[in-house]
Amino acid sequence: MKITRLGGRQAVKITRREFIAGGGALVVSFALPAPLFAQGLPGALQKTPMLDAWIRVAADGRITVFTGKAELGQGIKTALLQIAAEQLALEPGRIELVTADTARTPNEGYTAGSNSMKDSGTAILHAAAQTRQILVAEAARRLGAPPERLAAQNGEVRAEDGRRIGYGALVAGQTLHVRAEPHSKLVDPAAHKVIGKPLPRVDIPGKVTGGRELRPGSAPARHGPRTRGTSAKLRRAAEIRRACRGRENAGRAEDPARRQLSRRCRHA
C-alpha cells in the first residue's frame, strides 16, 4: 500500500496483490466449519483421494496427469503441467495432460470461480509430490540406499554412485493405487525450476492453426442449426436484410410493425 499526496489530498493506492490478499482474509472469515474437511486431504484430493486418479506412470515411463477441470483459455493446462512437472522433476513437455474427460478424469464439477488451481492444482501438486516420494522410496528399496540420498530428476531416480532407475521401471500394477496422505514432501520453492517461470501457453498453437484445442479429445463438433441447405435462422436473417433495404429511416413510421422492423434493421 502506498499513500501519496494528490492535489493536497491523501490518496491510498492499493496494489492488486494487496487487494487480493485483503479479499482472501475476508473469505477466511466465512470459511466453512471444520467437519466438512474432516478427511484432511488437500484440494480436490478430498473428493478423489486415490493417487492414480490424478497421475499414472506407464511402464515405458510415459506420465499422464488427469484433471477434471477444462481449459477455457484461462491457461490451466499450462499451469497444471507446471505444477506436475515441478513435483515430478520432469520437463513439462514430457507429461500428457488429460482435461475434463468424463470417462477418464476425476469429476471436479464446474470449471468456474477461479477454483481450478485451488482445487485441481492443489490435488495435482500433492499427488505429484507423493508420486515422486513413492518412486524414490521404491528406488531406495531396490538400490539399498536411503531415500534421502537419492534424487528424482528427468524421469529417473538417481543414486549418488551414479546408479539410476527410470520412473517406468519403478511402477508396477497397483503401485500408485493408494490413497493420498494429508501431507507431502513438496519441492522447496527456492529450488523451483518450472513453477513461477514463464511457459508459453500449450493450448495456443492449436488455436491458431485450426487444431482440436477447442474440443479436447472429441470428434469435430458440428456447429450451427443445420449442416446442409439453408437454416431457418439464415433464411430469417436474409428476409430481414431484404426487408430492410431502404427502410432504415422508417423508425418514425406510424405502423408499429414497420417501426419494429426498422429497429431490427439497425442490427441486421
Binding site: 477455457l72 498453437p205 491458431v208 492453426t209 485450426g210 450451427g224 449442416t227
Partner: protein, 157 residues
C-alpha cells in the same frame, strides 16, 4: 456438385448451392478453424479469405465460390510449421479461449496482403468487424503489428 478451391486443394462438394461456406468447410472439408459464432455475419468468428478478401463464411453461399480461391486459417501454416501470422499470435500469446482468433487472423491476413505496410490505426480499423469476448484485443493488435513487421522484413505473408 460444386468444386471449391480451399487452401490450394480442389474439393468436390455435394451440397445445396445455398449452403453457407462455413458449414461446408466444417462438415464436408473437415476444416474446423473457421468458427460458427452468430451465424449472421455480425461477429467475425467465421471469417475466411476469398480471392484475398476477408468474408463472413457463415453467410456466403457456396454457389458464388466456384473457381475462387478460398483460404482458411489452416492455409496459413500448421502447428509444426507456423506461418508468420500464426507465429506472431503465438509470440504475443494473443488468445484466451481462442474462438475468435482464426477469424481475426484471416481478416488481418487479408489486410496485410493488400497493405503490407498497414499502420496500427489501419489494423484496428480493419479488425472492427471481428469481436472478441475474452478481451484479448490489445494482444491481437500487437500480434498483427508484429506479423506486419515480419512480413515487411522479408517473410512471406
Amino acid at each position: 456438385m460444386i468444386t471449391l478451391n480451399v487452401n490450394g486443394r480442389a474439393h468436390s462438394v455435394d451440397a445445396d448451392p445455398e449452403t453457407p461456406l462455413l458449414y461446408v468447410l466444417r462438415d464436408d472439408v473437415q476444416l474446423n478453424g473457421a468458427k460458427f459464432g452468430c451465424g449472421l455475419g455480425q461477429c467475425g468468428a467465421c471469417t475466411v479469405m476469398v480471392d484475398g478478401e476477408a468474408i463472413f463464411s457463415c453467410i456466403t453461399p457456396i454457389s458464388v465460390l466456384q473457381n475462387r480461391k478460398i483460404t482458411t486459417v489452416e492455409g496459413l501454416g500448421t502447428a509444426q510449421s507456423l506461418g508468420p501470422m500464426q507465429r506472431a499470435f503465438v509470440a504475443e500469446q494473443a488468445a484466451q479461449c481462442g474462438y475468435c482468433i482464426p477469424g481475426m487472423m484471416m481478416r488481418a491476413q487479408a489486410l496485410l496482403e493488400r497493405r503490407p505496410a498497414a499502420s496500427e490505426a489501419e489494423i484496428r480499423a480493419a479488425l472492427q468487424p471481428n469481436l472478441c469476448r475474452c478481451g484479448t484485443h490489445m494482444r491481437i493488435v500487437r500480434a498483427v503489428v508484429q506479423a506486419a513487421a515480419a512480413i515487411k522484413g522479408g517473410g512471406k505473408a
